[in-house]
Amino acid sequence: MRLLMNRLFLMFSTLAALVGLFFLGWILYTLCAKGLAGLSLHVFTHDLIEGGLRNVIVGQIMMSAVATLIGIPVGIMAGIYLQEYGGNSKLTEFIRDLSDVMMSAPSIVVGTFVYAIVVIPTGHTSGWAGVLALFILMVPIIVRTTDDMLKLVPVELREAGIAIGASKYHVTMNIVIRYAKAGILTGVLLAFARVVGETAPLLYTSGSSEFWSTDLTDTFPSLTVSIYNLATMPDEEMVQLGWTGAFLLTAMVLVVNLIGRYASNEKRR
């Protein structure tokens, strides 16, 4: 009886794993089949208005990249504060908890916040509003990884630096950060991968545009928002373009993820 139960349980677990993997495989299969069907050079050389995706891909990457560029110093500095300056005070714990809570806050709420503080006062959607929303989403992720990575730096290294007369700034920048570099890089890449696929916070902050634009002060082309718009159109061709966009978006996210993983594996060796 015990052995029978055991067999049943193991079968159930394996079955559950297979069911889960089946659906996830189905999604990937659909994505590849539909996405590859519409993939051509035309997609990369023309803007949305001409049936391509060039402007929205560039727009999405640009917004995410700018958000990352602002997010890296802020996130890493806040992480440094938590580990190097904050000590074990209540305040440090509090900020750490806040950061964790922000990391899991619904992204649409961040969108509504940015809408209220940027879009309503300026009267229109803009690339900067999108950048701000993505920035708010990614900073807590970078803080968390920096915090975790700096924690792994042996305290002896810091002490050795201080002992030879280096200032705290020098110890942090030249010893601690250098030691934790690969881990932080992974965190940054994963944070980028996370925000580059975001749709909800961009819906009414950046909006999306059918035309080429690199002007962040105006409504800005977004790949994810465009996918949402295209997929809900009645026109078959538009839906097809949406699938192509979805495929490219997923490919981009997965590639950045893999690079991030590779970077952290390199470090462990």
Partner: protein
């Protein structure tokens, strides 16, 4: 230099607090007109964008002929509002004819909770199965690549799940259970599939913290795998697993894009699980751009409710189950 560096790091840490405080404050201030107009009753009001007559004595009476939907007759068709109907100008709130628009959050709140519960119902057993399979059953030559695949799947943008749900999964489910291709059930199941990799990866991590020694002692006493997992692994990893479930719950609750495609987006209770309904994030996603005045304030009220709900859920997960050392 030293000082500047320190100040900068303090400033960055402070910024986190400022953002969170500002979010709460801005949402509250933007929601204030709606909070004042509808009060806490907003949470249990079922109508959305319905004209209501203001009577002389200050009480209100509904103009519409449709039956009022109460909690007791969820099965009724209730009322259907087309998206265009709730786009209003703020001056319509109290115009000369003595009517005003009534908004209530009960439909999206119920839709959010039920779609999340459906998602949990299906994702918990499957995610636990995957976690157990990866950590206790599969040989490491299988567990490693599958584990990495699961983690990668957890990073797929949610809009992909929504799109797949709309074009493939929705019709598939409707083919089995009948009903619409967009419905509460489809939304719940798409959410389930979306959170499975996330939940499985977190639970596997929790399970992998169980010391081998404990498991080996149990095996040495003749325990079967089931008994080891049930009596040793789960109790040891319990708080981590519960934490992963609650975090997944929070994630599913605040999810917008995976649900926006498949829930239907209409202000009506789902009498059957195969009926379309609405959820808070989807209301926000669909009607923000075309709202102004009171109807916009109402949306901020909804956002505030969602924010607080997710705050509570995440707080419970973090502080009771996943305390970091």
């Amino acid at each position: 230099m030293e000082l500047i560096f320190k100040k900068l790091s303090q400033l960055s840490a402070g910024l986190l607090f400022v953002i969170l405080a500002a979010t709460t404050a801005v949402l509250y201030l933007s929601a204030k007109p709606a909070i004042e107009a509808f009060g806490i009753g907003f949470l249990v009001e079922t109508r959305w964008g319905v004209e209501e007559q203001l009577l002389v004595d200050g009480t209100t009476e509904k103009l519409d002929v449709v039956e009022s939907v109460t909690l007791d007759d969820l099965d009724d068709e209730g009322f259907i509002d087309d998206d265009e109907d709730f786009v209003t100008d703020d001056d319509e709130e109290l115009d000369g004819s003595g009517t005003r628009e009534v908004y209530g959050a009960l439909v999206p709140i119920v839709g959010t909770l039920f779609s999340t519960l459906i998602a949990m119902l299906f994702s918990i057993p499957i995610a636990m199965g995957i976690a157990v399979f990866l950590s206790e059953i599969a040989a490491s030559s299988i567990a490693k690549p599958v584990g990495v695949a699961i983690e990668l799947l957890a990073s797929i943008p949610s809009i992909i799940y929504g799109m797949w749900g709309l074009f493939y999964f929705g019709p598939f489910i409707a083919g089995i259970f009948g009903g619409n291709t967009v419905s509460l059930l489809v939304a719940g199941l798409v959410l389930a599939i979306m959170v499975i990799p996330f939940m499985a990866a977190l639970s596997r991590d929790a399970i992998s913290t169980v010391p081998d020694m404990l498991k080996e002692s149990a095996y040495a006493m003749g325990a079967t795998k089931l008994e080891v997992i049930k009596d040793v692994v789960f109790p040891y990893a319990k708080s981590g697993i519960i934490g992963s479930i609650i975090l997944s719950f929070g994630r599913a609750m605040g999810e917008t894009m995976a649900v926006a495609f498949v829930i239907g987006g209409i202000y009506q209770f789902a009498g059957k699980v195969t009926d379309p309904t609405n959820s808070i994030p989807v209301v926000l996603a669909n009607s923000f751009a075309e709202s102004s005045g009171l109807s916009l304030s109402v949306l901020f009220y909804l956002a505030l409710i969602l924010f607080i709900l997710s705050f509570i859920v995440i707080g419970v997960a973090k502080f009771y189950f996943l305390r970091r050392k």
